[in-house]
C-alpha cells in the first residue's frame, strides 16, 4: 500500500499532498516538513530510499523519492510494494504529467493542483496502484477532459 504521496519543491513548499490514511491537517503539514528535511539533506547521488520518517507508519514504511529539477516526488509505502517498482511508478507519473501539461514545470503544478490530482487518481487509487501503462492513463484523462469541455459548451 501507498500511504502518502507528497510533492514539494526545493524549499519545502507543498505542491501536492495526498494521504491515503487520515491525518489531521496539522500533522499532514508536519509530515511534509519532516519529510522535506529528511530528503533535503540527501545528495542527489545517494539512494532514493529512506527509512525512519517518525510520523508515518513505523518500521514497515519507507520513503521512496525522486528529485526532478525543482521538485521532490515522495511516496511513502509499506513493505508490500517493490522499491524499484515504485521508483518506476514515480517516473510514469512524472512522464504522464509531462504529457498532459506539455513540458511540465513547477508552475503547472502550482496553478493546476486539481488537475494534478485528477491525473494522480488515474495512477493510484486509495493507496493502491491502479494503472501503470502511461498510454492508458493519458487516454482516460483526455477522455475526461473532453467530457468536461462538452459540459462547458452546454453551459456557455
Amino acid at each position: 500500500m501507498i500511504q502518502a504521496i507528497l510533492v514539494f519543491n526545493n524549499h519545502g513548499k507543498p505542491r501536492l499532498v495526498r494521504f491515503y490514511q487520515r491525518f489531521p491537517e496539522e500533522i499532514q503539514q508536519q509530515i511534509v516538513r519532516e519529510t522535506f528535511h529528511l530528503v533535503l539533506k540527501r545528495d542527489d547521488n545517494i539512494c532514493n530510499f529512506l527509512e525512519g520518517g517518525s510520523l508515518i507508519g513505523g518500521s514497515d514504511y519507507k520513503l521512496i523519492y525522486r528529485h526532478y529539477a525543482t521538485l521532490y516526488f515522495v511516496f511513502c509505502v509499506d513493505s508490500s510494494e517493490s522499491e524499484l517498482g515504485i521508483l518506476d511508478l514515480i517516473q510514469v507519473f512524472v512522464e504522464t504529467l509531462d504529457k498532459c501539461f506539455e513540458n511540465v514545470c513547477e508552475l503547472d503544478l502550482i496553478f493546476h493542483m486539481d488537475k494534478v490530482h485528477y491525473i494522480l487518481q488515474e495512477v493510484v487509487m486509495g493507496g493502491m496502484v491502479l494503472e501503470t501503462n502511461m498510454n492508458e492513463i493519458v487516454a482516460q484523462i483526455e477522455a475526461q477532459n473532453r467530457l468536461e469541455k462538452s459540459e462547458d459548451q452546454v453551459l456557455g
Binding site: 500500500m1 507543498p14 501536492l16 499532498v17 495526498r18 491515503y20 487520515r22 489531521p24 491537517e25 496539522e26 499532514q28 503539514q29 540527501r42 545528495d43 547521488n45 545517494i46 539512494c47 532514493n48 530510499f49 529512506l50 527509512e51 525512519g52 508490500s80 517493490s82 522499491e83 524499484l84 517498482g85 521508483l87 518506476d88 502550482i110 496553478f111 493546476h112 493542483m113 486539481d114 490530482h117 485528477y118 487518481q121 487509487m125 486509495g126 493507496g127 493502491m128 496502484v129 491502479l130 494503472e131 501503470t132 501503462n133 492508458e136 482516460q140 477522455a143 475526461q144 467530457l147 468536461e148 459540459e151 462547458d152 453551459l155
Partner: protein, 1213 residues
C-alpha cells in the same frame, strides 16, 4: 430562473478562481495568513450562493487551502452539495475535496450514501469512476456495508475502466466491513483471469494485500498464481505475485520447491532489475522455508548471493541498498554464504549514504565472531565519534549492543572490555538509549559473576562523575545508566574498594535532580551500601566510624524524604526511620550490622521475562469457576442499598486461587517429579532449548578465575576499551602457543592409536577461550513451563478481522446487505441480481432446477474453482509448468490403490458381527483389505489388491531409518509414494464416490465428510441427492427445515467425465467407537436417449482415526501429559514388518493423523488429539521384524479401537 442563472455566471466571472487564489497568495508573501483568511471569508460567501458553479469553484479553492494546512471540515456539507452536482466537472471537484478532507469522524458522511450509490450506477463511466476514486479515500464501515453490494456488481461491469476500480476498492471495503470478504471473494478470484490486464493487475493487487496479512487463507490460490506467474508478461503483476509467493512459502515448503525452478529461470532471463530483485527475494524466502528440510540448495543460494553482490557493487546506490537489504535476509539462515562477502559489507560501512550504512550495520550483526568482535566494535566506536545527527548515532549504539549481546553474549571473550565499551558509550550526548546501556550493564553484572568486581569499580566511578551525566534531562537519556550503576554498587557492595566514598557520592544533593525512579533506586541501594559499610566497621571494631556513617545517613536522607516523587518519598521515609532506630541502638553499643545486612541477604537471580506467563495453570484449577456461588440477581438487587462494599467482594474471589490450592499444587508437583523419575515411559528429551532453563548450572563447581587487575582500571575521560584489544591479542597469542604445544603432545599420543578427542584444536575462532571463566547464569523459568512461542498478536490489528477462511461454503447469513431502495433507478444495472444467484448456488437448496441458466452459470464457475481446489494434489505433481489439471479423478485412482486403510481395519473389527451382510452389500466393498485368516471365497480379490499394494507401496529406496532424532511434526514424506486420504466409498457404471473424513477442531464433535463424485458415464448427472440414515450416535447436519428422511441435494451437476467435491458435516456424539452409516445417492442420468433415475448405495465409515486431528506437541508438554497419570494404557504388537521405521511413522502420521513428538533411533513418541479433546500418546518401537505400539489415552475404549485400526495398517507394511 433564467435570470438567476445568468446572474450566477456573471458573478462567477468576478469571483476568484483557483489560479487567482494561487496568484494572490504568491503576491502576499508577507501577510499570507491574513490574505488567506480574507479568501476564506469570500469562499464562505460563495458557498452561500445557489449557483452550483460558484460553489464548485469555492470548494476547489478550499481543496487548495487544505493542502496548505487549513482545516476545511466546516465546509463538509457544501462539499457534499458539489458532489451531487449533475455535471461531471463539478462532481469531480466535489469528490476530490471529499477525498482530501473526509474521514470516519466526518458526521455528514452518512448523507453521501445515496448520492454515491446513484453515481456508482450512473450510465457515464466517469461519474462512476470518480465516485469510486473518492470513496476509496473516505470509505467508512457504514458506507462499506451499505455499498458493498453495489461495488461488487461493478466488478463485472462491461467497462474495464470501472472493473479495475471496483476490484481495487474492494480491498478498502473488506478492511472496513470484513463480513463482505467471503461473499465477494469468488468474484474477486474470477477477476484474476480477467481479459483486461488492468483488471487482472488490480485483482492481483488486492489479493496480495489480503494475503500479506493472512497468508494461510490464500494458499489454495497458489496454483492459479503459479499459472499467472508463468504466463504473465506484465512486470508489475509479476512482482506482486512473486512477492505474494514469498509470503506463502513459509506456510507450504512444497510450494517453495515448485517455485525455485521458474524463479531461477526468471532471474537468469529478466532484464528488469525490479523483477530480478523480487525474484531473488522470494528465492531467499523459499530457501529459508526449506532450510530445515533440505540443505541441497546451495546452488540457489550461491546464485542469489552472486546476484546480490553484483547489485551491491553497482554504482547505482538504489541497487546497492536493496542488495544489502536482501543480503540481511539470507544472513538469518545462511550466514556462511554472506560472511564470505565481509569485505564488501565493511566497505559499505564507510559509504557516504546513511541508508546504506544502516543496512550494512544490520549485516554486521551476523558477521561477527569471537575473533573479530573487538575489531568490528572498535570500528563502530570510531563511527560513533564521527557520526553527525543523533539518529544515526543512536542506531550505531543499539547495533553495538545488539552485536555484542547476541545469543547470550556468545562472541564476547572479555567482559571487562565490554563493560568498558558500555562505559564509553555513556559519554555520548543526547542519546535516547540510556536505558539500553543500563539494561546491558545490569544484565552483564548479574549474569557474569566473574565480572562483578570490575563492574562495581566502573560503576562507582560513574556514580562519582554522575554530575556529568545528570545534565541531560531527556527521557531515557543517558542518566538512565545511573540507575544501573546505583543498583550494581548497592547489590554487590562487597566488591567496592571505597564504599564510603561511593556512599557519599550517592547522597550528594545533586542526586535530587535526577528522575524519580532513579532516585528511588539510589535510596534503596544507599541502604545496601550502608549495611555493608556497617558490617565492615563493626568487624574492624570501629564503633565511631560506624556511628559516623549512620550520622551521614541521618543527615542526608531528609533531602529524599522531601522529594515530590511518591516512591522516593516513601522509601526514604521508611529508611530514615530505620536508620534512626539503628542510631539509637548504636548509642547503646548494640551490634547491629548482622541484622541490617540480613535485610539484604540472599542473591537475586535473573528471571526470564516470560517466566510469569509460562507458569502453567495447575490441573484441577479452573480460573473461571465460581468459588462462591454468585448471589442471584433478585437477591443482590434487594441488598444493594445496604451493602455497598459487599458487591466488590463478590467479584474478587473469582480471580483468587484458594490457599489450599497452593499447597496441593506443591504436593502434586513433588509427586509428579517422583513419578517422572520412575516412569520408564517418560522419554527424557535431548536437551532442548526449553529444558536448558531448568538445569541452571550449579555455581559452585565452576572454577572462577581471578581477574588479573594489573590493568589500570580508572582512566576517567579517556577511552580505554582500545587497550583491551591489544591485550586480547597478546593473550590469544599466548593461548595459541600453549595450544600448539599441547597439540604436539596429543599428536604423539594419538599415534598410539587411541582417539582422544574428536575435534582437534585448530585456529578457528570458536577456539578462543574467554579471558574470564564466564558462567552466564541463565534466566530462571518456572517449573513445567509450557513452551509457547507464539507471539501475542496485537488484538487491535485491523487486518485480523480479515483472517477469514475463504474455502468454507457460504452460509445464509453471509449475504451482503442489499439495499431495497425506493428509487428504481438505482437498480438499473442488469448484473444487479447476479450476486444473489451466486449466494444461492453455494448452498444446497431444494429449488435448484428452477433456472437452468443459473445452473449452467454456476457450473462454469465451479469448474474454474475446481482447478485451484486441491492444492495438495497440485503440489504433489512433479512437472511444475503444467497448469493444474482437474485433480479429483486422479485422486480417486490413488485412493483405490493405496489408501483404504482406515476403512479396512474397522471392517476387520466388525466382520465377525456382520458376516454375510458384507457380501450382499456388493460392489462397493470391492477392495476389501487382506486379513490374516480369510474366508476362501474372498481370496482372489485379496490377492489382487495385495499385488497392487505391493507394487505401489514399496518405498523407492526403503533405506533404514536414519539415526538422528526427529522432533515435532511428521517425518519427511518424500520417500513415500504419493498417498491420498480419499478412499473409495462406492461406484457403479455411472458414478464413482470417494470420500475423506476430517475432524474439525473448531466444532466439538463434528466431522466433515468430503465426497468426491466422478461421473464415469457419457450422460449428464443431475438432481443428485444424498440421503443418509442417521444413527443415534452420528447425525448429518441438514439445512434448516428439512427432516431426517429428506435427502440432501448435491450442489452441482456433473457433465460426463467431470468430478467435483461436496462437503457434508456430521455431528458425532461419542467418538470412542468406529461406526458406519448407510446412505444412498440418487441421481438422474440424462443423455441423448433420455433420462433415467439411478441409485447407488454406500456405507460411510467413520473410523476412530478419522476423529483424530494432527496436532503438534512439544516433548515437554508430551512428558507432562504422560506423567499426569490420568491416561489409560494399552498396547499392540505386529510382526513381520519390513518397512523402514521412517516410512512406518509416516504411515501412522498420514493414516491416523498423528504427529511425531520425538524420535530416537528406532523408537518414537507420537501424539494426536481427538475432536473432543482426548489426548492420544503413542510410543512406537521397532524391533528386528516387529513393531510394538504402546498407547496412552484419556479414554480406554477409544485407545483400544485406535490400536486395532493401527494394527491393521501396520499389518500391511
Amino acid at each position: 430562473m433564467a435570470l438567476k442563472m445568468v446572474k450566477g455566471s456573471i458573478d462567477r466571472m468576478f469571483d476568484k478562481n483557483l489560479q487567482d487564489l494561487v496568484r494572490g497568495i504568491r503576491n502576499h508573501k508577507e501577510d499570507e495568513a491574513k490574505y488567506i483568511s480574507q479568501c476564506i471569508d469570500e469562499i464562505k460567501q460563495e458557498l452561500k450562493q445557489d449557483n452550483i458553479a460558484v460553489k464548485a469553484n469555492a470548494v476547489c479553492k478550499l481543496t487548495y487551502l487544505q493542502m496548505l494546512g487549513y482545516d476545511i471540515s466546516w465546509a463538509a456539507f457544501n462539499i457534499i452539495e458539489v458532489m451531487s452536482a449533475s455535471k461531471f466537472t463539478f462532481k469531480r471537484i466535489g469528490y476530490l475535496a471529499a477525498s482530501q478532507s473526509f474521514h470516519e469522524g466526518t458526521d455528514v458522511i452518512m448523507l453521501t450514501t445515496n448520492q454515491i450509490r446513484k453515481d456508482l450506477s450512473s450510465p457515464s463511466q466517469y461519474d462512476t469512476g470518480v465516485a469510486l476514486t473518492g470513496l476509496s479515500c473516505f470509505v467508512t464501515p457504514d458506507l462499506a456495508r451499505d455499498l458493498a453490494n453495489d461495488i461488487m456488481t461493478l466488478m463485472s461491469h462491461t467497462k474495464p475502466y470501472i472493473r479495475k476500480k471496483a476490484v481495487l476498492i474492494m480491498y478498502k471495503v473488506f478492511l472496513k466491513y470484513p463480513e463482505s470478504l467471503r461473499p465477494a471473494f469468488p468474484r474477486l478470484k474470477e477477476k484474476l483471469e480477467d481479459p483486461d490486464p488492468g483488471v487482472q493487475s488490480a485483482a492481483v493487487n488486492v489479493i496480495c494485500e489480503l494475503a500479506r496479512r493472512n497468508p494461510k487463507n490464500y494458499l489454495s490460490l497458489a496454483p492459479l498464481f503459479f499459472k499467472l506467474m508463468t504466463s504473465s508478461t506484465n512486470n508489475w503483476v509479476l512482482i506482486k505475485i512473486i512477492k505474494l509467493f514469498g509470503a506463502l512459502t513459509p506456510l507450504e515448503p512444497r510450494l517453495g520447491k515448485k517455485l525455485i525452478e521458474p524463479l531461477t529461470n526468471l532471474i537468469h532471463s529478466t532484464s528488469a532489475m525490479s523483477l530480478l530483485y523480487e525474484c531473488v527475494n522470494t528465492v531467499i524466502a523459499v530457501l529459508i522455508s526449506l532450510s530445515s528440510g533440505m540443505p541441497n540448495h546451495s546452488a540457489s543460494i550461491q546464485l542469489c548471493v552472486q546476484k546480490l553482490r553484483i547489485l551491491i557493487e553497482d554504482s547505482d546506490q538504489n541497487l546497492k541498498y536493496l542488495g544489502l537489504l536482501a543480503m540481511s535476509k539470507i544472513l538469518k539462515t545462511h550466514p556462511k554464504s554472506v560472511q564470505s562477502h565481509k569485505d564488501l559489507i565493511l566497505q559499505c560501512l564507510d559509504d557516504k549514504d546513511e541508508s546504506i550504512r544502516l543496512r550494512a550495520l544490520d549485516l554486521l550483526y551476523g558477521m561477527v565472531s569471537k575473533k573479530n568482535l573487538m575489531e568490528i566494535v572498535k570500528k563502530l566506536m570510531t563511527h560513533v565519534d564521527k557520526a553527525e545527527g543523533t539518529t544515526y548515532r543512536d542506531e550505531l549504539l543499539t547495533k553495538i549492543i545488539d552485536i555484542c549481546s547476541q545469543s547470550n553474549y556468545q562472541y564476547i571473550t572479555n567482559f571487562e572490555w565490554y563493560i568498558s565499551i558500555l562505559v564509553e558509550l555513556t559519554r555520548l550526548e543526547g542519546t535516547r538509549h540510556g536505558h539500553l546501556i543500563a539494561a546491558q550493564m545490569l544484565d552483564v553484572a548479574i549474569r557474569v559473576k566473574a565480572i562483578r568486581k570490575f563492574a562495581v569499580s566502573q560503576m562507582s566511578a560513574l556514580l562519582d562523575s554522575a554530575h556529568l551525566l545528570a545534565s541531560s534531562t531527556q527521557r531515557n537519556g543517558i542518566c538512565e545508566v545511573l540507575y544501573a550503576a546505583a543498583w550494581i554498587c548497592g547489590e554487590f557492595s562487597e566488591h567496592l574498594q571505597e564504599p564510603h566514598h561511593t556512599l557519599e557520592a550517592m547522597l550528594r544533593p545533586r542526586v535530587t535532580t535526577l528522575p524519580g525512579h532513579i532516585q528511588a533506586v539510589y535510596v534503596q541501594n544507599v541502604v545496601k551500601l550502608y549495611a555493608s559499610i556497617l558490617q565492615q566497621k563493626e568487624q574492624a571494631g570501629e564503633a565511631e566510624g560506624a556511628q559516623a556513617v549512620t550520622q551521614l545517613m541521618v543527615d542526608r536522607l531528609p533531602q529524599f524524604v522531601q522529594s515530590a516523587d511518591l516512591e522516593v518519598q516513601e522509601r526514604a521515609s521508611c529508611i530514615l526511620q530505620l536508620v534512626k532506630h539503628i542510631q539509637k541502638l548504636q548509642a547503646k553499643d548494640v551490634p547491629v550490622a548482622e541484622e541490617v545486612s540480613a535485610l539484604f541477604a540472599g542473591e537475586l537471580n535473573p528471571v526470564a521475562p516470560k517466566a510469569q506467563k509460562k507458569v502453567p495453570v495447575p490441573e484441577g484449577l479452573d480460573l473461571d469457576a465460581w468459588i462462591n456461588e454468585p448471589l442471584s440477581d433478585s437477591e443482590s438487587e434487594d441488598e444493594r442499598p445496604r451493602a455497598v462494599f459487599h458487591e466488590e467482594e463478590q467479584r474478587r474471589p473469582k480471580h483468587r486461587p484458594s490457599e489450599a490450592d497452593e499447597e496441593e499444587l506443591a504436593r502434586r508437583r513433588e509427586a509428579r517429579k517422583q513419578e517422572q523419575a520412575n516412569n520408564p515411559f517418560y522419554i527424557k528429551s535431548s536437551p532442548s532449548p526449553q529444558k536448558r532453563y531448568q538445569d541452571t548450572p550449579g555455581v559452585e563447581h565452576i572454577p572462577v578465575v581471578q581477574i588479573d587487575l594489573s590493568v589500570p582500571l580508572k582512566v576517567p575521560g579517556l577511552p580505554m576499551s582500545d587497550q583491551y584489544v591489544k591485550l586480547e591479542e597478546e593473550r590469544r597469542h599466548r593461548q595459541k602457543l600453549e595450544k600448539d604445544k599441547r597439540r604436539k603432545k596429543r599428536k604423539e599420543k594419538e599415534k598410539k592409536g587411541k582417539r582422544r578427542h574428536s575435534s582437534l584444536p585448530t585456529e578457528s575462532d570458536e577456539d578462543i577461550a574467554p579471558a574470564q571463566q564466564v558462567d552466564i547464569v541463565t534466566e530462571e523459568m518456572p517449573e513445567n513451563a509450557l513452551p509457547s512461542d507464539e507471539d501475542d498478536k496485537d488484538p487491535n490489528d485491523p487486518y485480523r478481522a480479515l483472517d477469514i477462511d475463504l474455502d468454507k461454503p457460504l452460509a445464509d447469513s453471509e449475504k451482503l446487505p442489499i439495499q431495497k431502495h425506493r428509487n428504481t433507478e438505482t437498480s438499473k444495472s442488469p448484473e444487479k441480481d447476479v450476486p444473489m444467484v451466486e449466494k444461492k448456488s453455494k448452498k444446497p437448496k431444494k429449488k435448484e432446477k428452477k433456472h437452468k441458466e443459473k445452473e449452467r452459470d454456476k457450473e462454469k464457475r465451479k469448474e474454474k474453482e475446481k482447478k485451484a481446489e486441491d492444492l495438495d494434489f497440485w503440489l504433489s505433481t512433479t512437472p511444475p509448468p503444467a497448469p493444474a489439471p482437474a485433480p479429483v479423478p486422479s485422486t480417486g485412482e490413488l485412493s483405490v490403490n493405496t489408501v483404504t486403510t482406515p476403512k479396512d481395519e474397522c471392517e476387520d473389527a466388525k466382520t465377525e458381527a456382520q458376516g454375510e451382510e458384507d457380501d450382499a452389500e456388493g460392489q462397493d466393498q470391492d477392495k476389501k483389505s487382506p486379513k490374516p485368516k480369510k474366508k476362501k471365497h474372498r481370496k482372489e480379490k485379496e490377492e489382487r489388491t495385495k499385488g497392487k499394494k505391493k507394487s505401489k507401496k514399496q518405498p523407492p529406496g526403503s533405506e533404514e531409518a536414519a539415526g538422528e532424532p526427529v522432533q515435532n511434526g511428521a517425518p519427511e514424506e518424500e520417500q513415500l509414494p504419493p498417498e491420498s486420504s480419499y478412499s473409495l466409498l462406492a461406484e457403479n457404471s455411472y458414478v464413482k464416490m470417494t470420500c475423506d473424513i476430517r475432524g474439525s477442531l473448531q466444532e466439538d464433535s463434528q466431522v466433515t465428510v468430503a465426497i468426491v463424485l466422478e461421473n464415469r458415464s457419457s450422460s449428464i448427472l443431475k438432481g443428485m441427492e444424498l440421503s443418509v440414515l442417521d444413527s443415534l450416535n452420528a447425525r448429518m447436519a441438514r439445512p434448516q427445515g428439512s427432516s431426517v428422511h429428506d435427502g440432501v441435494p448435491v450442489p452441482f451437476q456433473l457433465p460426463p467425465g467431470v468430478s467435483n467435491e461436496a462437503q457434508y458435516v456430521f455431528t458425532i456424539q461419542s467418538i470412542v467407537m468406529a461406526q458406519k452409516l448407510k446412505g444412498t445417492l440418487s441421481f438422474i442420468a440424462k443423455n441423448d436417449e433420455g433420462a433415467t433415475h439411478e441409485k447407488l448405495d454406500f456405507r460411510l465409515h467413520f473410523s476412530c482415526s478419522s476423529y483424530l486431528i494432527t496436532t503438534p506437541c512439544y516433548s515437554d508438554a508430551f512428558a507432562k501429559l504422560l506423567e499426569s497419570g490420568d491416561l489409560s494404557m494399552s498396547s499392540v504388537k505386529v510382526d513381520g514388518i519390513r518397512m523402514s521405521f521412517q516410512n512406518l511413522l509416516a504411515k501412522i502420521c498420514f493414516h491416523h493423523h498423528f504427529s511425531v513428538v520425538e524420535r530416537v533411533d528406532s523408537c518414537a513418541s507420537m501424539y494426536s488429539r481427538s475432536i473432543q479433546g482426548h489426548h492420544v500418546c503413542l510410543l512406537v518401537k521397532k524391533g528386528e521384524n516387529s513393531v510394538s505400539v504402546d498407547g496412552k489415552c484419556s479414554d480406554s475404549t477409544l485407545l483400544s479401537n485406535l490400536l486395532e485400526e493401527m494394527k491393521a495398517t501396520l499389518a500391511k507394511c
